[in-house]
Amino acid sequence: MTRWAMVADLRRCVGCQTCTAACRHANATPPGVQWRRVLDMEFGEYPNVQRAFVPVGCQHCDDPPCMDVCPTTATRKRDDGIVTIDYDLCIGCAYCAVACPYQARYKTQKALFAYGKATESEAKRHDDARLAVATKCTFCVERIDAGLEQGLRPGVDPEATPACVNACISGALTFGDLDDPQGNVAQLLDRTQHFRMHEELGTGPGFYYLWDKVS
C-alpha cells in the first residue's frame, strides 16, 4: 500500500513563507486562503526565548474527523491517504471546518482577488466551483496522479511532488510514501525524533514534525 505523508523539519524551517507562496501560485487560492501556511511561534520569556516556524495545513489524517461529519460525502479519503473534497457535492455547511483540529479548511463566500479587480492570471485561473464550499490542501493531488501516470516518483521527482515541497528553500519539507521503508519519508523518520500535532485526538495525522536527531 501507499500512504502519502509529509514531513516538516522544524530545525530547518526558517519561516520564509516560500511554501505558502508556492501553494498559492500552484493552487490559485484567493487572498486570505493559505492551504499551506507557516506559523511563527515564540516561547519563553526574555532572555530565554525560542522561536519556531511551523508549517501547517491539512494533515491528511488516517481517521479524518472532517470526513465523518461531512453530511454530503463531499470529503473522502483515498486509499493512498489523501483527503479530498468534491466541490460539486459540498454544500458549504462548514461542519468540516469546526471538526478539523488543525484549522485547515477555508470557505470563501465570494470571489476575491489580490488587487480588487482580477488580474489576467487570476481571471484565467478563477474557479467558481470553489466558491462557498470547503477547500483545503490537496497535497497537490493532480501533480501526484499525473506524475504517477508518467512513471515518476512523488517526493523524488519535482513534477510529481507538491508545490510547497518543491519550493522549500531549506529542505525542511519532505514528501513521500510512508509505507515504503526505503523511501525518503520513512528513512527520515527512522533517524530523527518526531511528533504529530494533537496526536491525542486519535486522528492519525499524515504530517510529521521533526525536532531532533535520534539520541
Binding site: 486570505g32 493559505q34 511561534m41 519556531a52 453530511p71 458549504g92 461542519y95 483540529p101
Partner: protein, 281 residues
C-alpha cells in the same frame, strides 16, 4: 497570517448555526411536552405545529448558513457517519409523523415524541463530533444538550398554558425535575472542561452558566414549587406557569447561543517538542 499557539474563537458557525440548536431543541422539547400533557384536539395540534415550526425554523437557519443552499438536499447523503445527515433524516420523518398526527391520521403522538427525542440527540452528537472545538467535543455535552432542549420545550409549553390550558401538576413536577437534571448536567460538563478550554471560552460559558443557574433554574423552580404546593390557584396558575417557562427557555437558549458563538474556541496549535538547533539548552 499567523496565529501562534493560542486558541481563537471559530468563525465558521455563527448565530445562524446557533439558531438551529436553539430552535430545534426547543421545538423538539415542545413536541415531547405536548404529548406528555395529554392534550388533544386543537390544543395538541397547535402545540405540535408550533414544535414543528420551531424545528423547521432551526433548519432554515442552517439553510441560510450554507454556502450552496440550492444543494441542500445533499445533506442527506451521509447518514452512515454524519450526525448532520441523521438530524436531517430525523427532521423529515418528524415532519411527516407530526403532520399525520395533526390531520388526524393517527391519534398517537408517541412516534413523534420518539423522533423528537432522537432529533435533539442528533444535535447533541453533532456538537460532540466537532473535534476541533474542545468545548463541543466533551462527551458530557450530550446530556446537557438533550436536557436543555427538553427544558426549553417544557418552558415554551408552560409559557403557552394561558392559550392551551393543558397541563397537570404531574407535568409541572416533570418540568421541575428536568430543570434539576439540566443544571446538574451543566455543572458536570463545566467541571469536566475546567483547565482544558481557552480562558475566553471559559468566561463565556461561566457567564451563560450563571444565567442558567439563577434565572433559568432557580426562578422557575421556585415558581413551579409554589404551584405544586398549592400556594397559587385558579386563574393565577397559568400566569405563574408562564412566568416559570419563560426564563427557563431563554436561559437554555442563551447557553446554546454562547456555546456556539462565544465558547467555540479551537485548541490552537501545540508543539510537544521544540526544535533542537545549535547548542543544546
Amino acid at each position: 497570517m499567523t496565529y501562534g499557539p493560542n486558541p481563537w474563537q471559530q468563525t465558521s458557525w455563527d448565530a445562524r448555526a446557533a439558531g438551529n440548536f436553539m430552535c430545534g431543541g426547543a421545538g423538539a422539547g415542545l413536541i415531547v411536552f405536548a404529548a406528555l400533557s395529554g392534550a388533544n384536539g386543537p390544543a395538541l395540534s397547535g402545540l405540535l405545529l408550533a414544535g414543528l415550526a420551531l424545528v423547521g425554523l432551526g433548519l432554515f437557519c442552517v439553510f441560510l448558513e450554507t454556502g450552496r443552499p440550492l444543494r441542500a438536499i445533499n445533506v442527506l447523503f451521509n447518514p452512515r457517519t454524519s450526525w448532520m445527515s441523521r438530524e436531517a433524516f430525523t427532521a423529515a420523518l418528524l415532519f411527516a409523523v407530526g403532520v399525520a398526527t395533526v390531520i388526524g391520521w393517527t391519534q398517537i403522538p408517541w412516534l413523534a415524541v420518539a423522533l423528537a427525542l432522537f432529533f435533539v440527540y442528533c444535535q447533541a452528537r453533532m456538537l460532540r463530533a466537532a473535534k476541533g472545538i474542545p468545548a463541543w467535543r466533551e462527551p458530557l455535552i450530550e446530556p446537557l444538550i438533550v436536557a436543555t432542549g427538553l427544558c426549553e420545550g417544557g418552558g415554551l409549553f408552560l409559557l403557552a398554558v394561558p392559550l392551551h390550558g393543558a397541563g397537570t401538576l404531574w407535568l409541572l413536577a416533570v418540568f421541575g425535575a428536568l430543570l434539576i437534571v439540566r443544571v446538574l448536567a451543566w455543572l458536570a460538563y463545566r467541571r469536566r472542561l475546567a483547565g482544558t478550554t481557552a480562558p475566553g471560552a471559559a468566561a463565556a460559558l461561566d457567564n451563560a452558566g450563571r444565567i442558567l443557574l439563577y434565572a433559568g433554574t432557580g426562578v422557575p423552580l421556585a415558581l413551579v414549587a409554589l404551584i405544586v404546593a398549592g400556594a397559587v390557584s385558579g386563574s393565577q396558575v397559568p400566569l405563574f406557569a408562564a412566568l416559570a417557562g419563560l426564563p427557563a427557555t431563554l436561559a437554555g437558549s442563551y447557553l446554546k447561543f454562547a456555546l456556539v458563538t462565544r465558547a467555540g474556541f479551537n485548541q490552537g496549535f501545540a508543539l510537544t517538542h521544540l526544535p533542537v538547533r545549535g547548542q543544546p539548552r
